[in-house]
Amino acid sequence: MYNTKVRGVLIQGNKTYADVSRDIIRPMDEKAPMWWRVSIFLATGALFWGVWGFYNTISVGIGEWGLNNNVAWGWAIINFVWWIGIGHAGTAFSIFLLILRQKWRTSINRAAEAMTIFAVMSAGLFPLIHMGRIWDGFFIFPYWNTRGPLWDNFNSPLFWDVVAISTYFMASFVFWYMGMIPDFATIRERTTSKIKNKIYGILSFGWIGNARGWLRFETAAILLGGMAAPLVVSVHSIVSMDFSVSVVPGWHTTIFPPYFVIGAIFSGFGMVLTLMIVLRKLYRFKDYVTDGHLDAITRILTFISLIMGTAYLTELFMAWYSGSEYEMFTFMKNRVTGEYKYAFWTMITCNAIIPQLFWSKKIRKNITMVFIISLFINLGMWFERYVIVVTSLSKDFLPATWATYSPTITEIAIFVGTIGLFLLGVLAFFRFVPTIAISEVKGVLKETTTLKSFTDE
């Protein structure tokens, strides 16, 4: 069957059940390490700068940003799409791989889901602040109002976006939290600290781990996973429709939904790779997040990178094949060559060319190289959104309205602030929550471990 040991050992080091709980809880019991304190300090600093940017925008207005009549979407939307893309890691990892019964996901899914939560939080801030009058944000909800009643435009992708992203956030959070309950109970029962016992007691909701509890837990997990899986496709399809239902050259294409979804999974896996390499190094989790795990992610990235390259080429081909001179201009004169050529070629290099290095086994085995390439993917995906948003808006049908765009310090501050927020969330996760799903790893331990008593059967 498919669950034979084709992938070899998933968890190394002849672990027993007791070892698994002990190893994964260990970092939470130790004193906060220096790197953690320093990172918290830096992330808080970044967040404060972001709060300044936020305050500046709200008190002065969107005029604080580098936007103009033509380029009405700038860094805010670029960063929004970038974060949402990164936020696809959790679902892509946990839920797709859960449904496909891929057991190697167990060491990574918890961290990927945590990333999703904080990335979506960071993403959500951008549309919120982009409204300018943030205090009128509740207008987006369809409620009985004094305007007629005038309801929302339910045909607008911007409204779909609100619905899709809030659903995605809720579903991801629920799935993530549910998975942690048995692990919180493990900590509750094992800890010697009274405070921890109290806190994790509250968080574990009174989990006891009896037969019926596990049956319902497993059923609920697969149901929640099954329902969230189509969200991965719908959320980014809807985000792409924010662009593609317009008539702006370079946006008005039918390739956008699949192209955005695959891009989101690409950047999500890229960020998972970045964080897992850091996590396994700092927490000495090499037995759990093995070279085999990283190898599997790099193989997936190689494949997705090829799809990304194909999508870029398809866009260029369609610009030519459509016979639309505006499309041709946007792609050939404003992306491949012209003012924004550096952004375009950075995108191509980072997303379609550099990940192809993963074809070489030598590079896949070199974790430093893998880490560097994962950073290039994160960067490349940011530039992809930059290319899409800015190039199309800066030069549209009327040359008289052409404008250039560059971000102001306020926009940069907000972006850095969201990175701070994301990092603070991830660091808190590293410290206070079991970063690897203890009960799930125990569940796959027996099938894949090399422990003698297990393989003797």
Binding site: P142, W151, F154, M170, V174, E189, G206, A211, G213
Partner: protein, 176 residues
């Protein structure tokens, strides 16, 4: 009715599953099993099932219908306003219906799980064998008032014989 249970503690799930077979062969009624991981064999042997998927399906159906009803009412009945010459009752409702069906299904499945399990934040529990959240497995057999000493002895012997590392009695109560 006394709540005393006879407990056999095991260290491996295959031994546990064999033990369950052996106990059931000897007509011993297993009340419950505690484990650090979900074990499918246990569910089958205890003959327990869950109707959670049915509940989720119902939530989904109710979600789809109510979302459509709301969209239809707002866009066609309450304030019919034409957008771009499209019909009032448009196909684009499907997108919102699709997403909100998932919303309703997810949220209510999550809540139903906790209601059925009688779980809530801060619930204080005591486990018959605390190490079952860590590395051990436990079989619980209810000691009914009418049970004779010989019967109890037989169960205890069976547990030991099937590989239990410890056999004990416990008065700990919990929600099943």
């Amino acid at each position: 009715m006394s709540n005393t249970n006879i407990i056999g503690i095991y260290e491996d799930e295959t031994i546990l599953l064999d033990a369950m077979d052996e106990l059931q062969k000897n007509d011993v009624k297993i009340k419950d099993v505690f484990s650090p991981i979900p074990i499918h064999g246990v569910f089958e042997k205890l003959g327990i099932t869950t109707r959670l998927p049915l509940a989720t399906f119902i939530y989904g159906v109710v979600g789809t219908i109510s979302v459509f009803a709301f969209l239809y009412w707002t866009s066609v009945v309450s304030y019919p306003l034409k957008f771009g010459g499209k019909p009032l009752n448009t196909l684009s409702f499907i997108i919102i219906m699709f997403v909100l069906t998932i919303f309703v299904g997810t949220l209510f499945t999550f809540l139903t799980y906790f209601i059925r399990e009688k779980m809530y934040p801060g619930k204080e529990v005591e486990l018959p064998v605390p190490t079952t959240t860590h590395d051990q497995f436990a079989i619980l057999i209810e000691k009914t008032p009418g049970m004779k000493d010989a019967e109890v002895k037989k169960i205890q012997d069976l547990l030991t014989k099937t590989g239990a590392i410890e056999v004990k009695d416990s008065d700990v109560e919990y929600d099943n």
